[in-house]
Subunit: 300 residues, 2 copies
Amino acid sequence: MPQHVAIQGFQGSFHEVAARQYFGAAPTLNFCATFGEVVAQVAGGRADAALMAMENSLAGSILPNYLLLERNNLTITGEVYLPIHQHLLALPGTTLADVQAVHSHPMALRQCGDFLSQYPAWQLVETEDTGLSAQLLAERQTPSVAVVAGAQAAEAFGLQLLAPAIHDDPNNYTRFLVLERAAEAQPVASPDKASLYFYTSHAPGMLAQVLTLVAGHGLNLSKLQSCPRPSQPWHYGFHADVEFDTPAQLGALLAELPRVTEELRVFGAYHRGSMEFEQETTNLKEGGHAELAEAALPRH
Amino acid sequence: MPQHVAIQGFQGSFHEVAARQYFGAAPTLNFCATFGEVVAQVAGGRADAALMAMENSLAGSILPNYLLLERNNLTITGEVYLPIHQHLLALPGTTLADVQAVHSHPMALRQCGDFLSQYPAWQLVETEDTGLSAQLLAERQTPSVAVVAGAQAAEAFGLQLLAPAIHDDPNNYTRFLVLERAAEAQPVASPDKASLYFYTSHAPGMLAQVLTLVAGHGLNLSKLQSCPRPSQPWHYGFHADVEFDTPAQLGALLAELPRVTEELRVFGAYHRGSMEFEQETTNLKEGGHAELAEAALPRH
């Protein structure tokens, strides 16, 4: 179990929730302002592991984070899926009529566009982090400010749920990867998923050949993300996630892939993250009235 | 020839250069602050066509623009490739020692990270547009400010090349699409490229089957971009660009694809954009001294 885990974001952020879900209460979390700093911490030994968002079910891949993965000697040892539920938080006693400005990370503000558009007079202020916005509100005690953040931020900083579940789309999930230094990470026992990167020659049909091999060995391609090749305009490498029943299937695929690829890297073999989500219940009061009990989100 | 073309950005922007390269001097350019406004202008009839950046050879696809394409009834009628050369511009007479702040679009600032990191005292100020930054500098006549922008912005606003070609990576190209309303656009005669969108069932190997058909009909897959399916977490649709010699190849592929896809859309059949770039020459003086003559960038 790692002692120090680097995450992007601060107390009350969704990265914190994902890290606690995966690692439990024991490790110290190293809060980082940027994804670059997260990767630098684990690559440089200041953290034993990192947890980094890689994609969101609505917004898609976070492409720069694939570059960070390519350029550092890290290996993926796990993944976490987290439903993203955004709430409007304020100081206890604040009403919607008191609010003049809403602070949050730009992504969180965008995810709540329908709700926020009902209040055109509110000033939207982009900040570094949802959790940090909540913390600053609690410190500064500004009744005219609300923040968009997760329930964990309300709990951490004693804020009230002024309006719960204000995200536009309930199908909002983020996938996080657990990263460790490749040279030191212990192989994961009995993995059922792997993340590969490959580059094929420009000859027509090479990508089809790769994917035919994947299917032929009975692996399921759960994700395929093209990424531009540095210094080779309009050439693309592919990050591919494959799911399998036995590690032997992965081994058989990896034995054949060099025949149809010019470059092949294995970024990690690990266990699939669970998509069975607990019902989010909290004893936080909605505007002082109601219990918040969001519906469980079943696996698609 | 369209009379009004909507572009993202303002006078002196790279979108302006790409639009003039494709449409010539005749059309009026409708400058828009956002990509959403660009698409709204053409979809709503305020512009006859739009030109929109879709990907950069270093940064990859602009994923939100694929969503804009999916959600409006537009068709692709052409494409433009443009080399992106960033320069440090300032008022005539300004020296590097005078500079205290550098204004530009965040993407342009990031593309010049190596150069800018040599001047840690400079304040970096993110703005809406490279061309707009140049215009404001010319209007405000602030000798302590420099901007990162293209040579076209220097020419448009009478600025000096304080440091030419400060972009980190010379392999910096942007691909733009030409968009028109699908209901009114004239079919492009003798196209040699098409942009498709397809979604397959989750059965293993379906994507391999699609790509095997593409290759089997002799088309070259020049781009494959996965995009999340709205309301279907971790399901992906694919935007695929295919190049071909004769439209009959495209027709044969399109006749077979419904057999292996659950959804299929053709976003346009058009002519490939040229990747043969003119040498960028300008009579702008570098710091008052030298002619700027950047090397021609050959096709890879």
